[in-house]
Symmetry: D5
Amino acid sequence: MLYHVSMTVNIPTDMDTATVEEIKAREKVYSLDLQRQGIWRHIWRVAGQYENVSIFDCRDHLHLHEVLMGLPLYPYMNISIMPLCRHPSSMHEDDK
Amino acid sequence: MLYHVSMTVNIPTDMDTATVEEIKAREKVYSLDLQRQGIWRHIWRVAGQYENVSIFDCRDHLHLHEVLMGLPLYPYMNISIMPLCRHPSSMHEDDK
Amino acid sequence: MLYHVSMTVNIPTDMDTATVEEIKAREKVYSLDLQRQGIWRHIWRVAGQYENVSIFDCRDHLHLHEVLMGLPLYPYMNISIMPLCRHPSSMHEDDK
Amino acid sequence: MLYHVSMTVNIPTDMDTATVEEIKAREKVYSLDLQRQGIWRHIWRVAGQYENVSIFDCRDHLHLHEVLMGLPLYPYMNISIMPLCRHPSSMHEDDK
Amino acid sequence: MLYHVSMTVNIPTDMDTATVEEIKAREKVYSLDLQRQGIWRHIWRVAGQYENVSIFDCRDHLHLHEVLMGLPLYPYMNISIMPLCRHPSSMHEDDK
Amino acid sequence: MLYHVSMTVNIPTDMDTATVEEIKAREKVYSLDLQRQGIWRHIWRVAGQYENVSIFDCRDHLHLHEVLMGLPLYPYMNISIMPLCRHPSSMHEDDK
Amino acid sequence: MLYHVSMTVNIPTDMDTATVEEIKAREKVYSLDLQRQGIWRHIWRVAGQYENVSIFDCRDHLHLHEVLMGLPLYPYMNISIMPLCRHPSSMHEDDK
Amino acid sequence: MLYHVSMTVNIPTDMDTATVEEIKAREKVYSLDLQRQGIWRHIWRVAGQYENVSIFDCRDHLHLHEVLMGLPLYPYMNISIMPLCRHPSSMHEDDK
Amino acid sequence: MLYHVSMTVNIPTDMDTATVEEIKAREKVYSLDLQRQGIWRHIWRVAGQYENVSIFDCRDHLHLHEVLMGLPLYPYMNISIMPLCRHPSSMHEDDK
Amino acid sequence: MLYHVSMTVNIPTDMDTATVEEIKAREKVYSLDLQRQGIWRHIWRVAGQYENVSIFDCRDHLHLHEVLMGLPLYPYMNISIMPLCRHPSSMHEDDK
């Protein structure tokens, strides 16, 4: 099932650079692994913002919850979620 | 270039059914044509709402503007737009 | 899977009473049928408002979408949806 | 009487882990005790958020107030409350 | 139990004056009757607005719901409700 | 003249307990004194919140201002104010 | 006592011009009369809007209420009100 | 030209009293000087709030900008601005 | 002096097409005339919306007010205004 | 392509003055360089605020993103972005 997730990141401006870089590096590894599994279907950056829009394909709500809670940047994020359906006008069968 | 577009549809409850159906039919034809051209990359329905989330791939802002103004349902829509970039953590080269 | 759905009803004040009563009667039949199937788990009225809070148990997002679109009062409703998980502190196994 | 309560938790990101874990452990014990008494009827986690939606069955407003003020996580929560009635379309007599 | 209720009235500007006056007259009778019973404890007008702030003393949420639904002006009102407790600093025992 | 005042208290979570208790004790003394003088007519606690709703009877706006500025908890409060009139449907002459 | 009042006017676009002009003419007469009495101390137009900002000097809240309810344009206005005090830094004694 | 300016002051609760008093004293001197020059036409305190509403008469936008940036309390203020015109119903020629 | 003006147009969906076209034609003539005089410095369309962002150069607030009130589409617009200054980092002397 | 960008700056009040001045100086150099290249077309200061409104002319969304991320003040800014088109009523061909 698909979920539309937008994530806004607010890292405190006084956090030391090394810690920030280390968290971001782990975030990238974590994201790529989920993308390769087909769970994190799309990730786009919102231009000019420290924010992304993503599409997740999860087994159920709990699966989504665990995937998001595992994000290394989660404590610094505001997240909003919308469940998505395949649109009847979509020409894709699997863009469900 | 990619644009994240969300469209909420508010058809007046007193519009006659035949007119509504005719507009929706033209909307579907219009959407499928743009999907086949690769301009309307994705369209998902927001569960439980008369609303979709879409990704458009347009040459420039004017192209996007004309595509949206051509929507048969445009006069009944609220639209919000965010310009998107390829995310540096994306494993896709062309999910720009 | 569980969904938290709140529904606010805005029937136009100039709609004739017989039509309103007929729609409400169909709404009640529709709701009771879904409750008996275990799909509409809970429905509570928000005190003092023409609004309810409900818990739906659906197979997936599309199932929820179809159930809500079938509501006789749907054209007069504002709906907001949150996907729910079983809480780790819940003493119920199936209050998932 | 039933109350719909949603609780959003905002623990400061710089609080030490041991303290956080200790508070959460006390919160769980407190919640389970109230569930067993039938006062905290339902608790669901909102997917992807550090937030829950709950239904309380209290004797009166003061009872609700004391139950909520006793939450170990209360100082870190935003809480919103709606009084609920049994819905006339509910098939349950006691889902009041 | 006490409830804080604020009511904002929006009568359509094209409703004929006789109907408006008739509804308002019934509203006043209804209100006075509830005041005499001790159910509608206080009603104040918000200066400069077609709005009141009221304190109701009801047996339970359902009682409040029925009292509000019976308001002749209810279809033209926006209502917001907060459950109140006696304040520990109050010098009144029964201003519960 | 009557004023509807709602006060929300936000005490920093890292303030030491003794200081908090001392301020609250002074707040209670201050409140009771004004209640006895008939200036602070009503104070109710909003259930589940660190918030009260109050009715003040002051000589004029400046009197209200000075009374509120004198609150020991004022630096930690958000306050909103509405001037009230006696409602023409009120059965009380002095619930002005 | 002084009150800061902002008034936004929303005349329906389909009201006939003669009626609009007649109401506006009465509004102007009404306003000038109150200005001459010293009750409507200031009236300014917000540039580019059909909106004004005004300062009223009234005996009490009820006086303000009656003055505003008498505005010929009142049924088409949104009004917001703030009670004002003389500022301790003001060099005017009577700009109370 | 006239500008409507509202200023809300948020001084951190942990700033030492002597510094606060020194800034406020400079603020008062600064304000009185501008009032004497006819630039700061009116200043009123919003009852119960640490907030004022003011009317400035400046040569142009830049003049207003420099006057506001010079406020000793500026770093702790939220400011909102509306350009004002003389109202055609005003009886004052110079309350422009 | 410069003003940043954003205009959102909401033409009723049931207005007849000929009237709409006639108003838009007058709007364009009006706009071009003001642009040639250097009063309407810039006008841009917000992509995907029936909305523009404009920069006006007016003698004073009243001049701006009269220019905006003269817009043939004014009755169908929501307008918001911000006074602008030349930015100290601007390389243009006259982009005041 | 044009983008409307508004930037609000929130520098912590406890940051030392030398650091603030150094960042602002780099911001000015950075801005002037982009203005000379024709990328940062316009920058205006919003009167009375620590905020600017700007027009950027970028090759694409990614170009805009990199330009904004390079702002020395970026970590202290809230930014909002709207893609712009040439307006059909504009008399300028290149005010695209």
